[in-house]
């Protein structure tokens, strides 16, 4: 659906994205994780055309028009003085949509005559999302929009998101810093570090490749183990191993534990900061 070739971008002289080559397929749900400043938001903006890359290209599948691409930026920016009614009218006209399903707004009891600027962050997120649903999107790009949404609205959002994916076979590329609530959704995970993807794996495969070892404070792990990230407290030592291979279970006398996606991603991000310190 999207093919990114040699994509690079700089802010002033600082490289933000460096020669990125990646492909995203139709109907995939992709999660992009990474430390702050890794280049995730910039990457999404390059995909939408909000930013023009310094070099390289982004090719969309033939027939995928911009009218079917939805983008919810982290800043949730919109024309603040518009009423919701005017915003809906504007968006549906500009994107030539057939209609607008206001059930989400009704569920949230949003007054259509209120201005966009009066909405809370959660309400605004769902309002923008409802505008995008009207586009029947084949591609949805979301940039870190869930962290400020309360638990109830987050559930509402995710329900609608899954409905939308099912209905329109939407490809979703989501940048997120909180992973637990979408743990089970992504099929593919990419981890970005210093403007490059250091991990690009199917979620299940990634789960198999990252394991944790827990030891007493005086315990040690063999030097041969590829430790991604180490966490020490006065009571416990944690070692995150990547890439884990099944043969390691027999080779080393330690217990390898499974990790959930949130912990896996945290270990990669933590690993970045360890490397940075070193």
């Amino acid at each position: 659906m999207i093919e990114v070739t040699d994509l690079s971008f700089k802010f002033n002289k600082k490289p933000v994205l460096e020669n990125i080559n990646v492909r995203f397929g139709e109907g995939e749900f992709i999660l992009i994780a990474g430390n702050n400043g890794a280049g995730k938001s910039t990457f999404l903006r390059c995909l939408t055309g909000v930013l023009t890359p310094l070099s390289g290209s982004v090719h969309y599948q033939e027939g995928l028009s911009k009218q079917r691409i939805g983008f919810i930026p982290d800043r949730l920016g919109f024309f603040e003085n518009f009423t919701l009614k005017k915003a809906i009218d504007f968006h549906t006209r500009v994107f030539h949509t057939d209609g607008f399903d206001d059930s989400l707004l009704k569920e949230l009891e949003l007054d259509l005559n209120s201005q966009v600027k009066t909405l809370s962050v959660g309400e605004r997120t769902l309002f923008l999302f409802s505008l995008i649903i009207a586009q029947k999107p084949r591609l949805l790009l979301m940039d870190e929009i869930l962290h400020a949404v309360d638990a109830y609205l987050r559930d509402v959002f995710l329900d609608r998101l899954l409905d939308m994916i099912a209905q329109y076979n939407t490809t979703v590329i989501a940048v997120n810093h909180t992973f637990s609530e979408i743990e089970k959704i992504p099929e593919r995970v990419l981890v970005m570090e210093n403007g490059r993807f250091i991990i690009d794996e199917k979620t299940d495969a990634l789960r198999e490749k990252v394991k944790k070892i827990e030891l007493e404070p005086n315990g040690t792990v063999p030097d041969e183990l590829p430790v991604l990230f180490k966490k020490e407290t006065p009571y416990i030592k944690e070692y995150y191993v990547y890439p884990f291979e099944e043969r390691m279970k027999a080779a080393f006398d330690v217990k390898f534990r499974d990790l959930n996606l949130a912990d896996i991603l945290k270990s990669f991000i933590g690993g970045y900061y360890v490397k940075k310190r070193v």
């Binding site: 802010f11 002033n12 903006r45 939408t48 055309g49 909000v50 930013l51 023009t52 028009s65 911009k66 009218q67 691409i69 983008f71 930026p73 800043r75 920016g77 919109f78 024309f79 603040e80 003085n81 504007f90 500009v94 994107f95």
Partner: protein
């Protein structure tokens, strides 16, 4: 999207219209501008206001989107960037054109000569400012800083436009840079004599702004403006250099040495001056005075072989008063006025060998009279103290009891107060006048409503008959009925040392009905006679439309009635009549004059200039004079 943009611009426009309409009302109520009509005030403010508004229109291209942090949404809309730019620019451009058309309409309604700058100058400035503001709109995030930077860029733009021909004129002709700047362009730019071809030069300098903006816009995003600016200036700087070179080449192709101005003396010598030189043509001969350090602004006084002129030294650090000796010929500085009063003075007036200048702005009460001996260059300064702020003019000078004096009119709100200032600084109050006073043949004339009071200050034979005294009038004072509004015209306003006049001319100007009636007053018997032939001609010309006229009296016994008519901002026709023994005789008629025709009426005759042609006609019969060496 286009509808949204139009709607936003419409709101801004309505706000501007509201301000433009109400502020003049407010100012009129506050009183300072009560003497000006609402329309005049409105139009003056409109010209300034619309320039500010059009700058705002340009600067605010993405201002609201940035303020609302809606750039992400805006740039993710299903438009190409160029289409988005088109959608943003179109309503603003349409609005700018609309307000420009309003300006044109107001200009046409305003009558001749009212606007501060010409249509051409306004057009250049208006659209240049809009384009510069628009193209700088993405370079800065803050509106106030944007406005300041736009104004600085606009100033630099105007100065570059001025500088190119200035430097060329210095390089090609060795002309003093200040003079070239003043004469060649700046004055023309602001007062509207630029050729249309100059648009090409302006376009050359505007193009770098526009091109840099359009190309950089492709890189627009939510990134800091510094990235956009880097891209912008990367394109702008080489294009600007190319634009300056191209503009210079175009200027070079258009370049002509500065305007020449002419004056015909009573002795039929033709004086020609430009910033290059002053030439005196006399029949078949010509004498030249190189004057690269002088730029005569206007010749004000003719006294025998000496002409007195004023020179404004750009950029305005001094004003020179010059004497041209056309016999030698020679040019010299008589006086140099410096400091803050370089344009705050009235005069000069010549009496015998003394030039008088009154220094001081109308908003000030105290003035300084400068008396300059033109031969010795000695200067005497006398402080003139008044109780309120006023405009001070000298209208007469004479000698009594071996002492010289000057007659001073101090005009302030209630009317005119008149006093005599002796050369030793002594001040002698002479009463008040409702209108500008007059001095002739040793007689001071002041006015009440429909009366004129004649008061003999210095004995002259010509007034002996009435000055003997009759009942109700003191020997030296006579009051006569002259009609409401009549005002006698000075014979030569800058020359106070005039010959005795047998009759003086006055006029009543009825501005409401656009009529003027001329009268002559016999100074021996004080009989006021209507100048019927002239008044009939005025009636006839006003019936044909709004005609203008003036009465010119180069010598005490010669009168010329000049009639001219403007049509669509151009001189439609021009006629000159001789007035002799109560009758008018048509001497010359010039119908359908070209836009560039210039007519000057001088002491010695009239000068008619058209591109590539110069005709000089001498009084009294307007016979054409030929000067062999005149190019």
């Amino acid at each position: 999207m286009l509808r949204k943009e139009f709607s936003e611009v419409l709101k801004q426009s309505l706000f501007f219209i509201l301000l433009a309409v109400t502020i003049p009302f407010g100012l009129k109520i506050v009183s300072a501008y009560r003497s000006i009509t609402y329309f005049e005030l409105f139009f003056s403010l409109y010209q300034i206001g619309v320039l500010i508004f059009v700058m705002f229109l340009g600067n605010s291209l993405f201002l609201w989107d940035r303020k609302q942090r809606a750039e992400d949404y805006l740039l993710s809309l299903p438009y190409t960037k160029l289409r988005l730019l088109g959608i943003k620019v179109l309503p603003r451009w349409t609005t700018a054109v609309f307000f420009y058309l309003v300006f044109l309409l107001l200009y046409l309604c305003s009558g001749e000569g009212f606007p501060m700058a010409s249509v051409f100058s306004f057009t250049y400035i208006y659209f240049s400012l809009f384009i510069i503001a628009l193209t700088l709109s993405l370079c800065l995030e803050n509106y106030i800083i944007s406005a300041v930077v736009t104004l600085l860029a606009m100033a630099a733009f105007l100065w570059t436009i001025c500088l190119i021909p200035t430097l060329l004129s210095q390089w090609l002709y060795g002309v003093d840079i200040n003079l070239a700047l003043e004469n060649l362009l700046l004055m023309k730019f602001y007062f509207g004599k630029l050729p249309l071809s100059f648009i090409a030069i302006i376009a050359c300098l505007l193009l770098p702004f526009s091109a840099a903006f359009i190309f950089s816009f492709k890189k627009i995003g939510i990134q800091p403006v510094s990235r956009f600016n880097k891209q912008y200036f990367k394109i702008f700087v080489p294009l600007l250099a190319a634009g300056v070179v191209l503009a210079s080449l175009l200027t070079y192709s258009l370049f002509t040495p500065g305007d020449k101005t002419y004056y015909l003396t009573e002795g039929r010598r033709l004086i020609e001056w430009s910033y290059m030189a002053v030439r005196v043509y006399d029949g078949d001969s010509v004498a030249e005075i190189a004057s690269s350090s002088f730029k005569i602004n206007s010749i004000l006084i003719e006294a025998g072989d000496n002409l007195y002129a004023r020179e404004f030294n750009f950029p305005g650090d001094s004003t020179y008063f010059l004497r041209l000796d056309i016999k030698t010929p020679n040019i010299e500085t008589v006086y140099k006025l410096e400091g803050r009063y370089i344009s705050g003075f009235t005069g000069p007036w010549l009496f015998r060998n003394t030039i008088a200048i009154v220094e001081g702005y109308p908003g000030e009460a105290d003035k300084m009279l400068h008396l300059i001996d033109v031969n010795t260059k000695e200067v005497k300064k006398i402080k003139l103290q008044h109780t309120s702020r006023c405009q001070v003019n000298l209208f007469g000078a004479d000698e009594a009891g071996g002492k010289r004096f000057w007659l001073v009119d101090s005009e302030s709100k209630p009317g005119h107060s008149v006093y005599r200032l002796w050369e030793n600084g002594e001040k002698e109050e002479l009463g008040t006048s409702q209108r500008f006073p007059f001095y002739v043949n040793g007689v001071l004339i002041t006015y009440a409503k429909d009366m004129a009071t004649l008061r003999k200050l210095v004995p002259r034979g010509i007034t002996d008959a009435w000055a003997a005294g009759t009942a109700g009038n003191a020997g030296n004072v006579k009051t006569i009925r002259v009609g409401e509004g009549l005002i006698f015209q000075s014979y030569r306003s800058h020359e106070l040392d005039n010959p005795p006049l047998k009759e003086i001319i006055g006029a009543i100007h009825d501005r409401n009905n656009n009529t003027k009636k001329y009268y002559s007053l016999d100074m021996e018997n004080l009989e006021l006679r209507e100048m019927k032939a002239i008044n009939d001609q005025i009636k006839q010309s006003t019936r044909r439309g709004p005609g203008w006229m003036s009465l010119f009296r180069p010598t005490p016994d010669e009168y010329y009635y000049i009639e001219y008519k403007w049509k669509n901002k151009r001189l439609d026709y021009w006629k000159i009549y001789a007035f002799n023994k109560g009758e008018l005789t048509l001497l010359k008629e010039l119908p359908f004059l070209g836009r560039q025709t210039k007519i000057a009426v001088c002491r010695g005759g009239i000068i008619i200039r058209e591109p590539g042609r110069l005709n000089v006609y001498a009084f009294p019969d307007l016979r054409e004079l030929k000067f062999k060496k005149l190019k």
